[in-house]
């Protein structure tokens, strides 16, 4: 393709960073280069014969490129590659390892909502949605993507510091036999059994049970 002789050092650490399948290509600038380096990006579906250029990431000076739309089919796997340009010379194409959106994404904690009576707490959990570039698109919960998705729920009695841990598959939990007029703090985590994926724990949601009637 009539490319120049490429003597520029290569972009480094070219990799996908993915959260809820928002798949963004990241890299570090070539060693020893300051400002002025421009980049172009291409990607390929594994098993399909051609590299595809990403026009929105052509001649860019930032060191990331959002490829979420191009890699949204999580039944496929992908490669991406970056080339650097500076002062009329260029680097080699530097590739990622094979990217599998299903196993190589990170998952956000679930949303937690809590209500209480005098002696119980009700907890409703909502799994994050698969990232969508276009808000008009249909929402897909990660629950649909990962059939083995479960929730780990932690409930802490603020007074006694006693903590319970629950592991549930459905998204609601009622914790009975609690003390009236007592503060409890709830946080939850997503746990996918295969492939093994764990979110962090959500921030704590504290609530006080009603006083005795």
């Amino acid at each position: 393709s009539g490319e120049l002789y490429c003597s520029l050092p290569n972009p480094r650490n070219v990799r996908f960073e993915s959260i809820n399948m928002k798949n963004v290509l990241h890299w570090s600038a070539p060693e020893g280069t300051d400002d002025g380096v421009l980049y172009k990006v291409k990607y390929a579906v594994y098993g399909v014969g051609k590299w595809i250029r990403k026009p929105e990431c052509r001649n860019i000076n930032r060191t990331w490129c959002d490829l979420s739309t191009e890699t949204s089919d999580y039944e496929e796997q992908y490669y991406a590659s970056v080339k650097a340009f500076l002062n009329g010379t260029c680097s080699d194409w530097m590739e990622t390892t094979r990217f599998n959106p299903l196993t190589d994404t990170k998952i956000d904690p679930p949303m937690v909502s809590v209500s209480s009576t005098d002696r119980s707490i009700s907890i409703i959990l909502t799994a994050p949605e698969k990232w969508k570039s276009n808000p008009e698109e249909e929402s897909i919960s990660l629950l649909q993507v990962y059939p083995g998705l479960q929730y780990n729920v932690s409930v802490l009695n603020k007074k006694t510091k006693k903590r319970w841990l629950f592991s549930i598959s459905n998204n609601t939990l009622v914790v009975p036999w609690l003390e009236p007029g007592t503060a409890y703090c709830v946080s939850a985590q997503i746990h996918v059994t295969t492939p093994v994926l764990d979110s962090g724990f959500s921030k704590e949601h504290c609530i006080t049970t009603l006083k005795d009637k």
């Binding site: 390929a44 098993g47 014969g49 796997q77 094979r98 599998n100 299903l102 059939p147 083995g148 093994v196």
Partner: protein, 151 residues
């Protein structure tokens, strides 16, 4: 975990196989420089296999991995070799269970899945044995991802 392949129910621990593969995935895939060819996913995707054909396809794929893949995947790395043999043993036991389903005639091979499996073999034979075996091993997560949809 119990998996439903058509009318066949098989319990197996995919998590163990998955953990073994994850530990060697980068190593194995880095030995496969061919981006433009896939053994399992192109031109036919496993995800398009009809549920009634799942049992037969899974049994054929397990046989494919036992007979044509694991034995050709020796490396110079003893850690990787140990993981490969542990995965191979898990495949052997799973295939035995699937074989029992076949004997009970719960494992019918439809025309479509027979065609897809022929294509997989053609993809495999398009490379030399070691490259084809290493590529197939590097695609184990494609097989596991598909199987996990059968929970």
């Amino acid at each position: 975990k119990t998996f439903h392949f058509g009318s066949c129910r098989v319990s197996m621990s995919l998590a163990e196989i998955r953990a073994g593969f994850t530990a060697i995935k980068a190593n194995i895939q880095s030995r496969d420089p061919v981006r433009t060819l896939s053994i399992l996913s192109h031109p036919h995707s496993l995800h398009k296999v009809k549920s009634s054909d799942r049992c037969c396809m899974t049994h054929q794929l397990f046989t494919f991995y036992v007979d044509k893949v694991f034995k050709h995947c020796r490396t110079e790395d003893s850690f990787v070799n140990r993981k490969i043999s542990s995965i191979a043993n898990s495949f052997l036991s799973a295939r035995r269970k699937l074989g029992q389903c076949r004997e009970q005639n719960n494992c019918v091979c439809g025309e479509e899945s027979t065609e897809k499996f022929k294509q997989i073999l053609a993809n495999y034979e398009g490379l030399n044995v070691t490259s084809a075996a290493m590529k197939s091993l590097g695609e184990l997560d494609i097989l596991l991802d598909w199987m996990e949809k059968s929970r």
